[in-house]
Amino acid sequence: MCSTNPILVRMKRVAMNCEFELVLCGSDRRYLIDAGEEAFEELARLEEQLSVFIPTSDVSDINAHAAERPVRIDARLFDLLLLAKRVSAETGGAFDISTGPLVRRWSAGDDHGGFSVPTSEEISQLISKVGMKHVCLDQAAITVAFDRPGMMINLGAIGKGYAVREMADLLRGRGIDAGLISGGTSTVYAIGHAPDDDAWTVGIRNPVEREERLTTVRLRDRALSTSGGHERFTEADGVRYSHVIDPRTGRPADALLIACAVTSDPAESDALSTAFLVLGVEETKEYCSAHESVGAVLVPVPAPGADLEIIRIGIE
């Protein structure tokens, strides 16, 4: 397919607040474009399903009603929530899709300068009100329920990976066996390998020198997801408070500049990259040694003036 005179088609579409890109490899340009269009249609449909900004989305439905009664959803979305729950459990709560109120508190006053650092009391209050433990998944009925009011879930940290995965499935189903699918800078999935190589080489951007490539990772039928705490933060009294909150402590996760996860499922890598950012180096190493098929690339926050250190775990 991608061997003789390969054609590469590049297509972009904005969705889920970022730019999704397809790089598809094949021998018929028209065909690649048609397949790409279908993938983007699927993307639009998934956004309708997941967006908290769309009142008729499944997630909005859950947030509006799951505290009153179990809400039925389709099995594919349920599966995603099961994944979220599993990653949450396996990372000791470092990944949690229900931490909305906590995150909002740390970003409150962002635009108007009215921010104040939350007190310990406030934090423990907020922590007690959120958490995956309050999200009940009934596998037989395929429903979601909250066991307390005021809970909200947001699939932002796993949704792009999910979309990438579903688009990849669709494209494979259309016979595409080589390509790259990415959702913003959050997740990229490699189908097969590049035309003249036995893998796709994907770069991770240097967060400080944004024109530079920090390092590369080679992927073949695998996903790479990146999470960074340096892009969104609140500044107060000269201190930067990242918007990436550690659900376990209720405070910003600040050990790592960037965390990347590499695994075969883009939705999982999306979730794990967020978890790794919170877990830090040691705990990420522990996680990866317990999960053979998962790799990581971590960049700790450097000491002032020091170079960036790149830690690769389970990836050559």
Partner: protein, 410 residues
């Protein structure tokens, strides 16, 4: 334009539809291997347990599958004893598994026949249904009545088609009998007799023991499963029906058949009282009695008496006795003869039988239509309660009582 019969989308595709490789990523944790009824829409079958009964099912299914109209295929077999694995492979050409669970992992298999020893029935049937397979479960349904109760729950929850293999239930005579009884042909039903008798010099269930069987070609631990741990014993493997650990003897092996079809005739019910008697009178090489009788009393005021000896062939006739008439099972069908006292009110009736699908065919049909099969889980469970209480009554030397409402032994 409308001509659905005989025209499928496949026809106009002219040639095999290319199925493109999927490489699905992601956990599909929610589904129980949903099988696609696909090419030729054949039902793909596995047989678990290829001893004498299993091999017999295997042979007949393979034979059936040769007729393309049957739309079935046997694709996998499983056993824990090497010579039986070899034999099963020879008969069917299917893939051979040592661990039945690996067979169940296959997404392409629709349905399995389970012909393992009794104490494995509940476990294998549960695993099979939870893996999305329909089940033909050899009789007795289970080893204990509690297992049967749990299995009913599994059937309901997994919405599988489970047929319990007491073939006589597919005999039309018992269905006709039920209709007659409900219409009042016998008046009040009082008691029913059935029996199952055999004789031999060798001793019942003393099947051949392969001298070559040893721990290397026979997975003893797997045979035992949840049964009490005992050292390797060929006698127990080949002749498991003689031992309480794996079987209920006459009750589970033979009375299960009898009571199943009688319950169909009488209307399935939980027993309220069961007592059993008999003993090891002649065949002293076993746990289970060679002569064994049970009396079952039912809440709707009638009794069933089952008699058996493995050391004398003289049967007790199968009769359903009502206050006004008695039902005889005589070829070609059923004959109902009124009691003298009621000769004027009711005539003698002879009822001919209608053809019915065989027990196995009924299962296969129900797999497609999702109808309830002939010996369904609920009925089979009710039978199991009576049968197992008979075993317990004998072993404890006590009358067993059961609460049908609470489904508990009192």
């Amino acid at each position: 334009m409308i001509d659905a019969k005989g025209l499928t989308r496949r026809d106009f595709l002219k040639g095999s539809a290319a199925t493109v490789g999927l490489g699905l990523i992601g956990t599909g944790a929610v589904m129980a291997s949903p099988r696609v009824i696909g090419a030729n829409d054949r039902i793909l079958i596995g047989v678990i347990g290829c001893g004498s009964k299993g091999a017999s099912h295997l042979r007949s299914l393979v034979e059936k599958s040769k007729d393309p109209k049957s739309k079935i295929a046997v694709v996998a077999v499983s056993d824990i004893y090497q010579p039986r694995k070899d034999r099963a492979r020879e008969i069917s050409g299917g893939e051979v598994y040592h661990d039945y669970r690996k067979l169940l992992e296959r997404n392409d298999i629709d349905a399995v026949v389970i012909a393992s020893p009794d104490h494995w029935h509940a476990r294998m049937a549960t695993d099979a249904m939870e893996a999305g397979k329909d089940v033909y479960l050899e009789k007795p349904m289970t080893h204990t009545w509690e297992e049967a109760k749990a299995l009913v729950g599994v059937v309901r929850r997994t919405e599988r088609v489970m047929q319990v293999g007491a073939q006589s239930c597919s005999d039309d005579r018992y269905w006709k009998a039920n209709k007659l009884i409900r219409e009042g042909a016998l008046g009040k039903v009082l008691w029913t007799t059935g029996s199952y008798c055999r004789n031999s010099t060798r001793g019942e269930w003393n099947y051949n023991i392969d001298e070559g069987a040893n721990p290397d070609n026979l997975d003893w631990k797997a045979f035992l499963g949840s049964a009490p741990k005992r050292p390797f014993d060929k006698e127990r493997f080949f002749r498991w029906r003689k031992y309480w650990d794996y079987s209920g003897g006459i009750a589970t092996d033979l009375f299960y058949h009898e009571l199943s079809h009688l319950q169909i005739a009488l209307g399935p019910e939980f027993p309220k009282k069961v007592s059993a008697g008999g003993g090891i009178y002649v065949q002293h090489d076993r746990d289970v009695p060679d002569t064994f009788h049970m009396i079952i009393d039912y809440p709707s005021d009638h009794s069933v008496v089952l008699c058996s000896s493995m050391a004398n062939r003289q049967e007790v006739p199968e009769l359903i006795r009502g206050h006004e008439a008695t039902m005889y099972f005589e070829s070609p069908g059923i004959v109902v003869r009124p009691e003298n006292e009621f000769k004027d009110a009711c005539p003698e009736i002879t009822v001919a039988l209608d053809p019915r699908s065989s027990h196995m065919d009924n299962w296969l049909e129900c797999i497609r239509t999702r109808r309830t099969p002939t010996l369904d889980a609920d009925t089979a469970y009710k039978v199991m309660v009576a049968i197992d209480l008979g075993v317990r009554s004998y072993r404890k030397e006590q009358v067993m009582k059961f609460d049908p409402a609470k489904q508990r032994v009192i």
